[in-house]
Symmetry: C2
Subunit: 138 residues, 2 copies
DNA sequence: TACAAGGTTGTAATTATTACAAAATGCAAA
DNA sequence: TTTGCATTTTGTAATAATTACAACCTTGTA
C-alpha cells in the first residue's frame, strides 16, 4: 500500500508537470484525494478530509489549488448544490444526480450533448442536474 | 396604462390570497415585476429595479418575499450563475441558456423530462443549464 | 380607541469564497 | 555549502450573497 502510494504519487507528479504545474506536496495530495475519492467534494469537504493527515494545511491552499486545477482544465466545477462549488475530476460530458435524502452525488454517464435540443443560440457548455431519491435510499 | 395597472394589481391580489398570502403592497409590486419583466432576476436585481419607485423598500423584504413565493411554489429558484440565486415566475419544465458574453438568460421551452435518460434513481426534479453565445451576440 | 397579528425595515450575523502579505520552501548560481 | 530568488503556503482580513433578528409600522377587529 505504501509502495503503491509512492508509485502513484510519482504518476501524479508527472501529470502535474505536464500541465505546467509544479508538483508540490499539497497539490499532489489534493489531486490524489480527487482521483481516489470520487465524491465531487467542495473545497471545505476536501479540507476536512485532508486536515487529519496534513495538520498544517490551510483552506486557502485548498481553494487556490482547486481553482488552479480547474483553470488548467483538470477539474470541472459543478453547481448541484445551488450556491456552493463542488469539483469533479472527471471532465468528460456527463450528468449528475443528487439524492435529496442522503445528499450523495452520483454520476450519470450519458452525454447530455446528444439528448438536448438545438437552439438559435450557440451552445458551448451544458450542465444537467437531477434531483430525487437515490437507489440506496428508496 | 395607469388604469390597466390598477386592474392588474387586483388580479395579483386575488392570486396571492388564493395562495394564502396576504397581499401587501410590496408583495404585489414584486410579483408584478416578475410577471412583467421575464428576466429571471436575482434578489439584488429586483431590489435595484424597484428601489427607484419604492424608496423605503428594503432588501430583506425582497429576499423574504421571493423565498415566500418560492416556498409556495409560485417561483422556481434557478442557479445558472453558479453562486447567486435567480428566480423564475415560470415554474413549468423548461431549460435555461445563459450568454457568457452579454449575460442575458433565455428560456428554452422544451421539456427536459422527455429527453433525459432513465436511471436507477428516482428522479423528481431536473435542471438543465446551457451556456454559450446568444443569437444577439454572435 | 386599543389591541393583536402579521409585515417591513435596518442592522448584525453567517457562509462561501477571494485578496493579500508574511513566512516557508525549493532550486540554482556563486 | 551558502546566498538569493521565485514560487508556494499559510493565516487573516475583506467581500458577496443570504439569513437572523428585533424594533417599528400597518391593518383589521373588538
Ligand atoms: Mn461527475
Ligand atoms: Mn425560465
Ligand atoms: Zn440517497
Ligand atoms: Zn449575448
Amino acid at each position: 500500500m505504501k509502495r503503491e502510494n509512492r508509485i502513484y504519487a510519482e504518476e501524479i507528479k508527472k501529470l502535474l508537470i505536464e500541465k505546467g504545474i509544479s508538483p508540490s506536496y499539497q497539490r499532489i495530495r489534493i489531486f490524489d484525494f480527487l482521483t481516489t475519492n470520487r465524491i465531487h467534494p467542495s473545497a471545505e469537504m476536501l479540507y476536512l478530509q485532508l486536515i487529519g493527515e496534513m495538520p498544517t494545511l490551510s483552506r486557502t491552499t485548498v481553494y487556490s489549488t482547486l481553482n488552479l486545477f480547474a483553470d488548467k482544465g483538470m477539474l470541472k466545477r459543478i453547481f448541484i448544490e445551488g450556491t456552493l462549488v463542488r469539483f469533479d475530476i472527471d471532465t468528460s460530458d456527463h450528468m449528475h444526480f443528487k439524492c435529496t435524502k442522503c445528499g450523495e452525488v452520483f454520476d450519470i454517464f450519458k452525454s447530455a450533448k446528444k439528448l438536448l435540443p438545438k437552439t438559435e443560440h450557440k451552445v458551448i457548455n451544458e450542465e444537467v442536474y437531477l434531483y430525487g431519491i437515490c437507489k440506496n435510499c428508496k
